[in-house]
Amino acid sequence: MKCQQCEKPATFHITELTGSAPQELHFCEGCAKTYLLQNDGSEPGDSSEIVKVLGGQVKLGKAAEELAKLDQRACPKCGMTFYEFRNQGRLGCPHDYSFFERELVPLIMNIHGEAKHVGKRPRGEAPDIDAQTELIRLRKELDEAVKKEKYERASQLRDEIRLIQQRPLAAAGDKSAADLPPQSSAPNEGETGSSAED
């Protein structure tokens, strides 16, 4: 028997059990590895399925012009465009879930049948996620500044990054608080290591 991907003899015979009916697959060693890598044993749901669903969903009820416009929308933090997402099925950064939320919710409904998380939340005060994802943008800009040898801008960006990183974890929206020394109510970086949970 030949490998179903190439001309070599098939030495790996895999029964795929994720679909509604088991499916027999025959591969040579090389192609089997590639296949298994794309379909890691513990992970149901793969990106090609998402790409399909998303493709259908987006095209449905959207004029070509409208779609072209949507495709060009890019996440302000990581630069991922909607076009890239619907072709790869993987998101670029955590902010994409907010930035593309309107387009994502139908896809998420399709996968999970729900679009609202009801499980566990990080304990303690919620960290300022927006400031955290801002680090993605700043690092990206820093990379570009260094590449273009704009060292003054790079040094500015490094300072901005450091400022955000030095904020205590639980700092809420109030940005001015970041400049003040940590208050006793907010956990100090040095103390977090010895908290009393165990």
Binding site: L17, S42, I50, A115, V118, T192
Partner: protein, 362 residues
């Protein structure tokens, strides 16, 4: 942080193969995995090399500052030789994805091998807890505690409506995958297994065979897990998987009883031949080994083979895998040589029990 020599690990068995948890004749292990990402970095596929290094460092510092984790072993997976990475995959301590990926990536393991923390897998962090037998509740308590310790130290990407954010939307929400691994040889022999799969699929549960070099699942081991991760609490998702397991165990037991009743001789013959080949073969592939060990494992449970225990067979399933065999022998081996070494290893561990000593070896 300490680093256990992997060669030393090879001689041991790992908690999840202890074969002692609840329902452990049929349920091999219970595993819960949580996917988490740092809010301050792109998802892995969009990371630069320096991002990956920084993520690794962030987690190393956070993990290193948890008092309960001061004895964890740390492995820089990117620098491990291929055989060592393969070895960790065979032990289910790292995923195939982490094994084969490029760039900075690592794993933390506890000495009992009940949990691992993978850094720079498909998500920035994948934690897993693995217990022997059917034991999801305590696995959840343990992993939730691990999650809390880390949430005190780093900012996880969390969205008010969508929950924990993951690189792939199939994992968003709880980021949790609950899996129970079952040994179902009688359902395979009686060809009932597909029926079971179809009904599980209708319930929104995923079933996968553990892959081997064969057309059936490796050694008749199947993994059942939740398909969705959003819109239900972790407890609900765990309950959904946990509730179905006794039903499957019941099916498997009914099938075993049916085989004993209707074709006891055939079954006894099948089990005895399997045992005979494993004890006497001079060269044997890992595919054939898995297939035969599966029959022997069932035979022990049904009382058709005496003086042999299920944990011994569990250990052989792992120790006869290619990377384990090479680790145990201490030399790299080509396939043909491995097949010879595998046969010798099986003889040593299955036959030596006749003259006493060998059972207590580990």
């Amino acid at each position: 942080m300490i680093s256990i020599k992997l060669d030393e690990l090879a001689t041991r068995c790992g908690e999840w193969l202890r074969g002692q948890g609840p329902q452990s004749e049929i349920v091999i292990s219970s595993r819960i995995r949580l996917a988490r990402n740092l809010a301050s970095f792109p998802f892995i596929r969009r990371c630069s090399d320096s991002d990956r290094v920084a993520i690794d460092k962030t987690f190393r510092e956070a993990i290193g500052s948890v008092p309960a984790w001061k004895d964890l072993a740390y492995y820089n997976v990117a620098e491990l030789p291929q055989i060592d990475r393969q070895f960790l995959v065979e032990r289910q301590l790292i995923s195939r994805e982490l094994c084969e990926a490029q760039g900075a990536r690592s794993v933390f393991l506890d000495a009992q091998e009940t949990y691992s923390l993978m850094i720079n897998e498909e998500d920035h962090l994948r934690m897993q807890v693995m217990h022997s037998g059917l034991d999801l509740e305590s696995a959840w308590d343990q992993i939730s505690q691990m999650d809390d310790w880390l949430a005190d130290r780093v900012s996880f990407a969390f969205h008010n409506r969508l929950g924990y954010l993951t690189a792939c939307p199939t994992n968003v929400g709880t980021g949790m995958r609950v899996s129970v691994m079952l040994h179902l040889p009688a359902l395979v022999i009686t060809q009932q297994i597909e029926k079971v799969f179809r009904s599980l699929a209708k319930m929104g549960l995923a079933v996968r065979g553990l892959y081997g070099e064969g057309s059936q699942a490796m050694g008749d081991f199947y993994q059942i897990s939740n398909q969705i991760t959003l819109g239900r609490s972790e407890e609900d998702l765990i309950k959904q998987v946990a509730e179905v397991i006794p039903v499957i165990i019941d099916y498997e037991n009914q099938s075993r009883a049916f085989l004993i009743k209707e074709s006891r001789k055939d079954l006894h013959d099948r089990v005895s031949r399997a045992f005979g080949i494993l004890c006497t073969a001079q060269t044997i592939s890992s595919e054939e080994t898995l297939h035969l060990l599966s029959s022997v494992r069932m035979g022990i449970y049904l009382g058709l083979i005496k003086d042999l225990e299920i944990p011994t067979i569990n250990k052989l399933f792992i120790h006869t895998q290619p990377a384990h065999l090479q680790k145990l022998r201490g030399v790299p081996l080509e396939t043909a040589d491995r097949n010879v070494e595998r046969a010798i290893y099986l003889q040593d561990h299955l036959r030596r029990r006749d003259n006493g000593g060998a059972m207590g070896q580990n």
